[in-house]
């Protein structure tokens, strides 16, 4: 098998067996990135020099027998994570020139584990988008069909893993930004419990919803990578001080007796009938493995999109205030005075979707509107969390589709923000409730991948990965590579 056809776990084994070196591995992927850029535009920055240097260090460690399980494995980072000495743009003109003076905790942990960073992946501007069309650096395209979007906001990471430009990538998920693109490009993506992975150094969009996770070819790979990223960080007050489970160690547990709840609200009329068929086929696999299915209703879940589009913009309007042209980032030419500096730096530095959300957020926090919008949305959020918590009294995991349809055409939804927002209808609930959730490939419709979403109670990452791995032992959807990228 070609190197790029291997999973992270298989590559790790090959490095140990000296079948190939980390440098060879890095070179292979760097060549694939270079060749793919004109079509996919998955990367904002490719860090070839640093990658090869890190690979040489990894090879030395492997040679000396001092390697850890991830040593020498190439990965890509979403360009939302600060990387010391490397440009960190967050997909925005605002940070086009920004070189972070420090590493995000996620980056530092994966660096310490011996991984080799290939580059920084393209994304929707400040992670605001569901199609990767809001990036200042141009849209990312779907490797299964370049006229389609890869989803967003971690669209670059998703496309990179799908096209095997990197065996794995980091991502962030505020309303579905890992799961939705993972589904649309046919890979595995997990958003852990809020607080499981440090947010330090991850440029904030909506602080109470943002969570870092991974996009990989398999659940096994996700277990390996997530295990190295997760854990308490004293620099993030919202990170949780609880031990990290042995994700890889629990993968093979049998699924007999697993109680699966089918989210009634997800199998609604918005769901494409063919997509539903693929999801039901996956559910049948679980039944065959000894799981039981039952329908579960979360009555407040339909309110998740409106609640999300109040809370997330509110937080973003405040989080993005620091981008003022004063200390770093984009500054307009020849400001006349302070107000002109603010207005033009922000007006020219931010794109339309970011501005729309800043304005929405500013509005919902304004005197006289706060109670009606922000406070109300927080109450809805509580209700949704309560719904989930009730559901998990009856079932071990909840399942449903990740998205209503397969990938859509570039430009198809850009003119109507609300249509675009509705693409996150199935993913937002987990963010509002802070729950772990993942998407795994479960088949194709018209040659395009479909994702199955699996959600669990807080800190059930090991269970989710175990459940996902169970499906991947029985199916090979996750092994499929887009035709143009097989070689």
């Amino acid at each position: 098998m070609s190197l790029h056809g291997k999973t992270l776990a298989e590559l790790a084994a090959g490095l140990r067996a000296k079948e190939f070196s980390s440098v060879e591995l890095a070179q292979t992927y760097l060549r694939r990135i270079e060749a793919s850029q004109p079509e996919l535009n998955a990367f904002v920055s490719v860090t070839e020099e640093q990658a090869l240097a890190a690979a040489r260090v990894a090879d030395a460690a492997l040679g000396a027998g001092k390697a850890g399980p991830l040593t020498g494995l190439p990965i890509a980072h979403k360009d939302i994570f600060c990387t010391e000495g490397v440009r960190t743009t967050c997909g925005s003109r605002m940070l086009d020139n920004f070189v972070a003076p420090y590493d995000a905790t996620v980056v530092a942990k994966l660096k310490a584990a011996g991984t080799v960073m290939l580059g920084k992946t393209n994304m929707d501007e400040f992670a605001m988008g569901s199609s990767n069309e809001t990036s200042y650096f141009g849209p990312v395209r779907n490797p299964w069909n370049p006229s389609l979007v890869p989803g967003g906001s971690s669209g670059g990471s998703a496309a990179a893993v799908a096209a095997r430009l990197a065996p794995a990538a980091t991502g962030t998920d505020t309303g579905g930004s890992i799961r939705q693109p993972a589904a649309l490009v046919g890979i595995t993506g997990i958003k852990p419990t809020y607080g499981r992975v440090s947010r330090y150094g991850m440029i904030a969009f909506a602080s109470s919803l943002d969570q870092a996770g991974v996009l990989t070819a398999s659940a096994h790979d996700a277990a390996l990578l997530l295990g190295a990223m997760a854990g308490f960080d004293p620099r993030d007050s919202t990170s949780v001080d609880a031990p990290v489970q042995d994700y890889a160690g629990e993968l093979e547990k049998p699924l007999t007796g697993l109680r699966i709840g089918l989210l009634k609200e997800f199998f609604d009329k918005g769901l494409d009938a063919h997509n539903e068929q693929r999801v039901r086929e996956a559910l049948a696999v679980y039944e065959k493995l000894g799981a039981t299915l039952c329908e579960v209703s979360l009555p407040n879940l339909p309110l998740s999109v409106p609640a999300y589009y109040v809370v997330a913009p509110a937080e973003c309007s405040s989080n993005l205030a620091r981008f003022d042209g004063v200390r770093y980032g984009y500054r307009c030419e020849n400001p006349r005075d302070l107000m002109d500096l603010y207005k033009r730096s922000r007006g020219e530095g931010f794109g339309a979707e970011v501005k729309r959300r800043i304005m929405t957020g500013t509005y919902v926090l304004s005197a006289g509107y706060y109670d009606a919008y922000y406070l109300q949305a927080q109450k809805v959020r509580q209700l949704i969390a309560q719904d989930f918590s009730n559901a998990f009294k009856q079932v071990d995991v909840l399942m449903g589709p990740t998205t209503p349809t397969t990938a859509f055409e570039l430009g198809a939804k850009t003119s109507d923000p609300v249509t675009m927002y509705l693409n996150d209808i199935y993913t937002i609930g987990a963010n509002l409730a802070g729950l772990p959730a993942m998407s795994v490939p479960c088949g194709f419709v018209g040659g395009l991948p479909v994702g199955l979403q699996i959600m669990g109670p807080h800190f059930a990452e090991a269970k989710l990965l175990n459940v996902a791995h169970g499906l991947q032992r029985e199916t090979d959807w996750h092994r499929r590579i887009p035709p143009g990228y097989e070689k």
Partner: protein, 477 residues
């Protein structure tokens, strides 16, 4: 027409922690610009605040000291506005759920009565940085050293009715925070400052008048002057048919007047909301009791003890307890001289305080130590010198740094207690002033003082005053 003034104060006290409220940067004053600003203070992308536990302990101390409710659950919120010295575009503060609420402080009025002032709340927040203009023509510089410095904002009820009451309250808080060792109280460096909300209403009216807020007052003198000016301004305005508008004003010490900074309509909508980067501050009883155990004796408790233990007047006890150091100085002197705590109180609250004020020194920097002052007072008690001579000796001690005995010896200031010597001096004075003597004897009693003065002059003030009085009465009659 008769008017009543209504004042409420918002005091900002800088908490005396070594590091900032949400970052590990040092808080020391006077460092080179931006030398004490790290990525968190600079508001870099991706960084997050982490609460300094020490500020919570300090806030609880203050809350306990004013008998307030300590919130078991308090929340940090973001106050959003754009300004170059505010790196994140928001200030982290407490809004709906402050850590301390509903306390009280007693102040003593001029007539000696006590007035209780309500403290609405005290909340934790971070300070902003500052803009620099000097030496930067056409540019604005930024020094973010102060950004993230911990502050506690202590908000009073509108309970004060004159500038004097406001100053008394401010001084009381100033004393308290230094007792608690939660603030160094340095007003020049901005560690302790206040905003005053001032309004006037007709005597007897129930509704408050429209208030103006005077920002950033950082001396007791300015507070009094600014409030008095503002009260005059508002009364003049209303009496001449105008209306006070709600606005923020600044006091200009050079001109002695307040001027408008911005009106209410121009005020920011701060869009407060709970900061999602910080968890609510949850305190349990054990934590609060732990802090209670570290509480020092408070100013009012100490003053009450001075009254009962040393039989001091309430006034003296108040003066001697304005700082922990002053009280310790007093107690040391009182202990050294033994059974005359009143004498020690008079000298410290009177003469010594005069010298300290004159040279603008704190008691800790006094040029006469407690031991030396006790040495001087011992010479009064054993009648070596009179109180009047002692003042002269203290002056010499203050300027020379030598002890009382050396100065008394060198200058020959030892009191004359020899009856015959005093009698000789009296006779001499009587002989030289026959006219006055005749007048006194014909009933002009007031001339007694004249004779005391003349004898004292003749003895260079060294005659024992009690003996002199007694002997003079005898001789003159």
């Amino acid at each position: 027409m008769s008017w009543e003034t209504v004042i409420g104060l918002e005091i900002h006290a800088q908490l005396a922690t070594r590091s900032k409220i949400f970052s590990g940067s040092a808080t020391a004053y006077g460092a080179a610009p931006n030398a004490q600003a790290n990525l968190v203070d600079l508001g870099y992308p991706g960084v997050l605040p982490v609460l300094n536990g020490e500020v919570v302990r300090m806030a609880v101390k203050l809350g306990l000291a004013i008998g307030a409710r300590i919130a078991r659950h308090s929340v940090f919120a973001r106050k959003n506005y754009f300004y170059p010295d505010l790196p994140k575009g928001y200030q982290i503060s407490q809004y709906e759920l402050p850590i301390v609420a509903q306390g009280v402080l007693d102040i003593v009025l001029d007539d000696g009565t006590t007035k209780r002032i309500g403290v609405t709340r005290a909340h934790l927040e971070e300070d902003a940085g500052k803009s620099l203009h000097e030496g930067l023509p056409g540019l604005t510089g930024l020094d973010l050293n102060r950004a993230g410095t911990p502050l506690i904002e202590i908000v009073s009820e509108p309970d004060m009715r004159s500038a004097k009451e406001a100053v008394a309250y401010m001084k009381k808080v100033h004393t308290l925070v230094r007792y608690l060792e939660i603030c160094d109280g340095n007003m020049q460096e901005g560690s302790f400052r206040c905003d005053a909300n001032v309004s006037v209403r007709k005597k007897g009216a129930e509704k408050f008048g429209t208030r103006a807020e005077i920002k950033n007052l950082n001396s007791f003198r300015y507070i009094e002057k600014a409030i008095n000016y503002e009260v005059e301004r508002q009364i003049d305005l209303i009496e001449s048919g105008g209306k006070v508008i709600q606005e923020t004003r600044l006091y200009d010490p050079a001109k002695g007047e307040t001027r408008s900074l911005r009106a209410k309509e121009e005020a920011n909508d701060y869009r407060y909301f709970p900061d999602p980067d910080l968890l609510p501050v949850a305190l349990d009883d054990a934590f609060i009791e732990g802090v209670r155990k570290t509480m020092p004796e408070l100013p009012d408790q100490k003053a009450a003890r001075f009254v009962s233990e040393y039989a001091l007047s309430a006034y003296d006890a108040g003066v001697l307890t304005t700082s922990r150091e002053m009280a310790a100085f007093y107690e040391d002197v009182a202990r050294r001289i033994g059974n005359d705590p009143k004498l020690a109180a008079n000298w410290i609250a009177g003469e010594l305080s005069g010298w300290l004020n004159k040279d603008n020194l704190e008691i800790t920097a006094s040029r006469v130590s407690s031991g030396r002052l006790a040495g001087l007072l011992a010479r009064i008690k054993d009648a070596t010198i009179s109180g009047k001579i002692a003042k002269e000796v203290l002056e010499a001690m203050w300027s020379s740094g030598r002890d009382a005995d050396a100065i008394i010896e060198e200058k020959g200031l030892k009191q004359i207690t020899d009856t015959s010597a005093i009698e000789r001096a009296i006779e001499d004075v009587m002989a030289k002033n026959p006219g006055q003597l005749a007048e006194y004897r014909s009933g002009k009693d007031k001339l007694f003082g004249f004779f005391v003065g003349q004898v004292m002059k003749a003895t260079q003030g060294k005659a024992n005053p009690a003996q002199l009085n007694e002997l003079l009465k005898k001789k003159l009659s």
